[in-house]
Point group: C2
Chain length 332, copies 2
């Protein structure tokens, strides 16, 4: 039998700061990658940059005898996968209403499939990461905001296709709590995201005594960020530690509610702020045990994402591979 | 073509007070029914009563040329459908650890299938009630406690088969809120159930001024119940109205969280306390709209159950019909 032709897909992760693309093998291995700065670009320039990086990757594959058959594109925010449209992108507002997927498909002459960034994270961790082999699980991506997704019966859950699903970050954990950019109060995202750490630190600074501590110094130096707050906490600052405790509490409560409702017990947590795992996991697990009375002694299984930033790239490529096989094309 | 033989199933609803059984046609019509008091009976007597009522129904069917092919049994609490065992029944504790389904099957020489009472409610409303034709929806049963279930992709969702699923009543809506019999605090059930109305009224009676009002009179007369609190509210008593407002708030918040996470927008609410619909629906809908930022202007669709008490009977019979067709038998 002849060797089957080697094929690959491009996976794209379009974040608020960078545009990352990779050529990914059928088995989920990253063969080559490109990164470009996306912040401050206009929509047309994002398309041009993206198309150029993708062509690079197609050529890089071709030089090794690999055919690129499709691309998958993960974008933060509300998207319409059926027509390749970015409906609402909080991190890249220049893309609001821009048919990025459709235009990229036309430019590249390759099928391009779009999904929410948290969904492509899930697809990646499910295909080649911490959730491999899991049938039912909750994915949470702790970044600037809080992304989420559900895998049910071995598939990414899409709900009623209302344009959103798996919005774990907008489950209310503290009614009347801190405001969330979505307009509600006390969402998980208002406790468990890079943005929540910074706004939480600023709230804490109003308390006498804390203003004079390390968080106050960072704020005065204009250096307050999720990363510097994490470092403060690692050095034992109680005010910073409290923010991660609260993050774990909020995550534990949201997961307790999901596990009670869905009768499941697995979650995978990734994203940049997921790297603060050691600072929030105890609080998360204690809260979960206290608030999910249904789970027996075997309890919940909470794991870290295993692919880091590559989860979204591998997941986006996997999306491309699956949809292409199903013979779907973006309309247009 | 010959007329196909007429067949029917028995549906049984085993509540804390009464044992109700009905002969149900293939199309979900109740053909005949029996009711017996279950409170204060021992486990063996419950089995004997149940078997006698079922035999009545089988004979009643036979007299009309109808063959009874199976029975479905809905029980409040945690059950193990695979071996017909009641694991834990808060309303009929004499049944804890009793293999009621298996013994009934042996006695009747008919396949008997068991499910949680909220799940059979869902099956009933889905087959012949308010949720007919709905693919994805949340069911909530407001009774002594708060039952719940999920229908996903047109099927009763069973999760990881951990012995519970759809425990909407134990989603936390107010962290640190009133205690729930499950051991957690601030569960939906602690706001939206007959028990919550009574304990909520007792809490309210500690407030000066309220003790002297109609709720205080009921308490002193030993007549405080969900029903009398409802009547107080219908007569405009602010303290009683406040309890139903809070019920609606808690239901709205739990549904907002489920809709955000699942990307769905339909719920059906039934059960005895669901009859107080007019007193909680405004608060429910306002809370939902404020706390589910993802749902567009088309919004959520919340409906009342349409089958009343018959939902559980029709659903239990439907369970019997479906499992029998699938060729399953309870082990034993």
């Amino acid at each position: 039998m002849e060797n089957p032709k080697k094929i690959a897909c491009i996976g794209i992760d379009l974040g608020g700061t960078n545009l990352r693309a990779a050529l990914v093998s059928r088995s989920g291995k990253i063969l080559d990658r490109r990164v470009t700065r996306a912040a401050e670009l206009e929509a047309e320039s994002i398309l041009t940059e993206l198309a150029a990086r993708c062509r690079d990757l197609v050529q890089s594959g071709a030089a090794r005898g690999i055919e690129t058959v499709a691309a998958g594109l993960g974008v933060a925010g509300k998207i319409d996968p059926s027509n390749g449209m970015v409906v609402f992108s909080p991190n890249l507002p220049v893309l609001d209403g821009y048919p990025l997927g459709r235009l990229l498909q036309k430019t590249l002459r390759l099928p391009v499939y779009m999904e929410n960034d948290a969904n492509v994270f899930c697809l990646g961790e499910s295909f080649a990461g911490a959730a491999k082999g899991f049938r039912n699980w909750v994915g949470i991506v702790l970044g600037t905001g809080t992304g989420g997704c559900l895998f049910l019966n071995g598939k990414l859950w899409e709900g009623d296709r209302l344009g959103f699903s798996g919005e774990i970050g907008h489950m209310i954990v503290e009614p009347g709590g801190p405001p969330c950019p979505c307009g509600s109060n006390g969402c998980l995202e208002a406790f468990a995201s890079a943005r929540a750490l910074v706004t939480g630190a600023r709230r804490a600074l109003r308390v006498p005594g804390i203003k004079e501590g390390p968080l106050g110094e960072l704020e005065r130096a204009g250096k307050l960020s999720a990363k510097t707050i994490y470092e403060c906490a690692k050095h034992g600052d109680p005010a910073a530690l409290e923010l991660f405790d609260k993050m774990g509490w909020a995550l534990g409560l949201a997961l307790a509610n999901l596990f009670s409702a869905l009768g499941i017990r697995r979650a995978v947590i990734g994203g940049g702020v997921g790297g603060a795992w050691d600072l929030f996991i105890d609080s998360l697990e204690n809260t979960l045990a206290r608030n999910c009375s249904m789970l027996g002694p075997e309890g919940a299984l909470i794991q870290r994402g295993r692919l880091g930033d590559d989860a979204a790239l591998i997941g986006a490529a996997r999306l491309g591979m699956k949809r292409k096989r199903a013979g779907e094309w973006v309309n247009g």
